[in-house]
């Protein structure tokens, strides 16, 4: 009947506030594609990201990485989501990611990696998968 399907996406970044503009841009792009974006800015750790994923019932997580020193955090987040039985959430990594690290991200369970300039591909991917 009055059914309204909406894609809900969590957009967050790991790292310092220097990179926040790039994360905001991802949020704006997804909003303009008609999605409801839960924007949390730069995350301080998984303790707040995981409850956000659960409480907001998002379909997509877009996590921006700007340094591979955050891989540990990502790994912790993946484990925590699994532990909380959160499934059916598309996990996207974006940001500044060196090519050699992309396989590492897939190994950790990331569904897809998009470079910062691949927003169109990212939207298409989300719309297909959700």
């Amino acid at each position: 009947m009055n059914k309204i399907k909406k894609i809900r996406a969590l957009v967050a970044g790991l790292g310092t506030h220097d990179h926040e503009k790039a994360v905001q841009l991802t949020a704006a792009v997804l909003r303009d594609a008609g999605m409801e974006v839960i924007y949390t800015g730069m995350a301080k750790g998984v303790n707040r990201l995981v409850p956000t994923v659960i409480q907001e019932d998002v379909n997509v997580i877009s996590l921006s990485l700007f340094s591979m020193s955050h891989l540990k955090t990502l790994e912790k987040m993946m484990a925590s989501l699994k532990n909380e039985k959160v499934d059916n959430v598309l996990f996207i990594a974006t940001g500044v990611i060196p090519d050699k690290d992309i396989p590492v991200l897939y190994q950790l369970g990331v569904d897809m990696v998009f470079k910062l300039d691949m927003v169109k591909e990212m939207i298409k991917y989300i719309e297909e998968k959700v």
Partner: protein, 326 residues
């Protein structure tokens, strides 16, 4: 009460929610917000467990510090052993339908706290509008066992007044430096405030805002039985929050459950539900076979006027409803 049949997925979510699963609560909220088939039967199932929570609406112009206040108030409530549900509303873009829901940024202190559940909601379109779905989300959180549910509104728009009407207590947040603080608040909201909060009280002009509110109250504009308190805060520094929380608790404890607002609320809820359902039914029928698009074209080509078209669409419904009452 006639209970519609519920499928297994709904049954499972409701029973998991009652057992305290945040994930089930969250998924239930999504399904109800999206008006998935069976949502009304699900609400019927949940309804008997509602009516326990106190509902607080927080409103005020954009940038008044509503999210920061919500964050601070919630910290105090959790310290008092309360379970808190928060609904943070932001506007949807009328063009893309998308939204950026950013209230959690200022609520990061409480985002992972035990007993706290924050849900961001976009206003979405008119159909299944915010008013009714926010009302239903409140009920689900209530049934889940939240003691206090805070609805933080957008700060602009008509939904504002509507959402505020479902609260037991409304906090109106004013700040100095936004011109006439009272003019900035929508008509219909000022009158039903239970507590006035003057936030960012370290700024110039805070005393003036307090005096303006007092002057307005002296005119007898507020509809409550008692003069509402005016509380000064600096939410970002956590100052004045204790006094505010005490005033909130005093107000909630004093609330007469039989007051006139409750009856008005039921009336409004019935009309609101009916309105959305009827509109939904009509739209569905109208869209069938592309008739809606045809009618739009007729208006665009000046073949028919909108009034004639609406009368044509309403005619069968009118005939049916009036049949027994002529």
């Amino acid at each position: 009460m006639k209970q519609q049949h519920l499928d297994k997925a709904w049954e499972k979510l409701i029973s998991d929610m009652k057992k305290g699963s945040n994930l089930a609560l969250s998924r239930l909220i999504t399904r109800i917000e999206c008006r998935e088939p069976g949502w009304m039967a699900a609400m019927q199932k949940i309804y008997p467990d509602t009516g326990r929570a106190s509902i607080i609406g927080i409103t005020g112009s954009p940038g008044a510090g509503k999210s920061t206040l919500t964050n601070q108030i919630t910290k105090h409530l959790v310290d008092k052993g309360k379970k808190v549900g928060i609904i943070a509303v932001d506007p949807s873009s009328p063009f893309s339908g998308g939204a950026i829901l950013g209230d959690r940024i200022r609520m990061s202190d409480i985002s992972g706290l035990d007993g706290v559940f924050i849900r961001s909601m976009a206003t979405r379109g008119a159909l299944g509008g915010l008013n009714q779905s926010a009302r239903d989300v409140v009920k689900v959180m209530d049934a889940f066992g939240k003691d206090i549910i805070i609805i933080e509104t957008v700060g602009v728009g008509q939904d504002e007044v509507e959402v505020v009407k479902i609260s037991d207590l409304v906090l109106v947040v004013c700040v100095p430096g936004q011109g006439d603080a009272i003019q900035a608040i929508k008509a219909g909201v000022m009158e039903i405030a239970g507590i006035y909060v003057v936030n960012k009280s370290d700024r110039d002009g805070a005393e003036q805002v307090v005096m303006d509110i007092k002057a307005m109250l002296d005119l007898g504009i507020n509809r409550g039985n008692q003069q509402p308190p005016i509380i000064q805060t600096m939410a970002d520094k956590g100052e004045g929050i204790e006094a505010l929380v005490n005033a909130v608790m005093t107000h909630l404890n004093r609330l007469d459950k039989e007051d006139k607002w409750r009856e008005a609320r039921v009336k409004e809820e019935l009309m609101g539900l009916l309105e959305k359902e009827i509109l939904g039914l009509i739209q569905k029928q109208w869209n069938k076979y592309g008739r809606f698009e045809e009618d739009v074209k007729k208006v665009l080509n000046m073949e028919e006027d909108p009034y004639a078209i609406v009368q044509k669409v309403l005619a069968p419904l009118k005939a049916f409803i009036l049949k027994d009452h002529e």
